[in-house]
Amino acid sequence: MRKVKEPIKKPWIWIVMIAILVLGVPWYFPDSAVNPIILGFPLWAFVSVIMTVVLSWYLSYLCMHEWNIVEDEEEGQNGEVQ
């Protein structure tokens, strides 16, 4: 039987999430950070795009791997063996 996991219980989850969010907002760039243009994005926006993809991946990961409360119970009821 797997351990019960609830995201709210782990502070690191939220620290990492806030870090990704803060880094995704372009407040720390100098005005010159427009160049180079990468794949049609100015540098500052490109960094933001990367952080956005990281955010999607991270949240998707958390849903699947850091959340397990009643799943074992439910899947057991459904007769599925995990």
Binding site: E6, I8, V25, P42
Partner: protein, 502 residues
Amino acid sequence: MNDLTFSGWSGVTILLVYALLMLGVGVWSYLSDKKSGTNMQETMSGYYLAGKNLGFVALFFTLYATQYSGNTVVGYAASGYRMGYAWWMSVPYMIIIIGGYLLFAPRLYALAKRHDFLTPTDWLEHRFNSKAVSLLATVFMVWGLGNYLLEQLVAIGQGVQGLTAGTIPYQVAVIFFVIVMVIYEWLGGMKAVAFTDVIQGISLLVGLTAMLVGGFVLTGGHFGEVASFIATNAPEKIAVPPMKVNNQWFSMLILVGIGAAVYPHAIQRIYSAESERTLKKSLSRMAWMPLVTTGVVFAIGIISIQIFPGLDKMGSEQLVGLFANKVAGLGGFYYFMMLLLFGGIVAAVVSTADSVLLSLQSMVSKDIYGRYINPSAPDTKKIKVGKIVGLIVVAFLIYIAWNPPGTLFEIFVLKFEILIQIAPAFMLGLYWDRLSKWPVFIGMLSGGALAGIMTWTGHKTIAGWYGGVFGLVLNITICVIGSYLVSMSAEEQMKNQKTSAL
């Protein structure tokens, strides 16, 4: 969206096909229920939450189609055009909604199954056992949802009128789609809403893909050249955003991340999941959807800066129409794809509106009629009251949409600012035993009042920070400080712990 080369009767046809599909789903839901003998439409949980049995496909698409409306396409492309690259913010702020869910959905899902919650207020009642908190939260939610529905009804009218170049007038469009929506909703409840969402979500995705392909063709695939064009001709749209915009960006992350996750219809989708596995799988896929939804719309806005330079604010609101017109002009295949796009936009509005209406009805059935007026009524009667009141609300909103009051119109603008004020009661209430009812009540009321006053007095933002965020901060502060000040017996605290324990 008034001068489309492909408008007219082909637009009317696609909308009719679409309406027939929706009605078909409604009839199917009704008949399959009758055939299986489950009588789902006769119980509250069956009608409003599809028997808490939505599988992955239906749950994923109902989350998706409900979250993204027609405005996500039409309005967001215009914002991208006006704001430039800083509008990228619309992608992370739609993604972080999943972070908002992670704050409370795992526990709420488990509790909702155990205690058979139907509406968001059921949880508040269970936790605080306070008429004041339940009633205030219900009023906020009904008010916020009503305004949200009004916005969707207006969007249906404008979208359809635009798509058919006025062949179907605004009023006819609204009435027609409201009738279609109400029929399939009355027939099949949440089951019909979720399964029409599958069709609506797919239509939106097809439309967005068509748009992206069109954009690619129009620019010859040279997205880098678009950036160079903007750097030369509209440098402010590519520059590193000023602090005010960055503050706005971050405050949108907070506002949308928390606010959209606690939308009543969003919470009811948590309740409707067939299993925890289904719910987390759906949410984990949803975390990627903004990249292919608001991300694509952002790209269209940016490309349009080069294709349609110099549009003013009003002009930029017509951007999607102009863009579609240009793409449709490329030839038959593109013409057809753009038709699908407009079908997708209208589908996106209807799919949001139906979920909002159903949620509103459920609150009338359970939280108002069922809690205060006639608690002993059978489920069928409660559902009937919800349906009829829902219809009256829609009729009233249609009236407002056509006769906007000269004064106090702002009452109908508040949505997010108000809805987000129930978040502390939800989230803190789940995990903090000390949180007590009066601070929650006063916090909710003060937060709503502050956000409302800021909006009404024309101070929607201060230094880029939204009124809703200020209201939320005030709300949380009152909840926390107030709860420390109110004395709570060990027994009471123990009781609170039990209500939210897993």
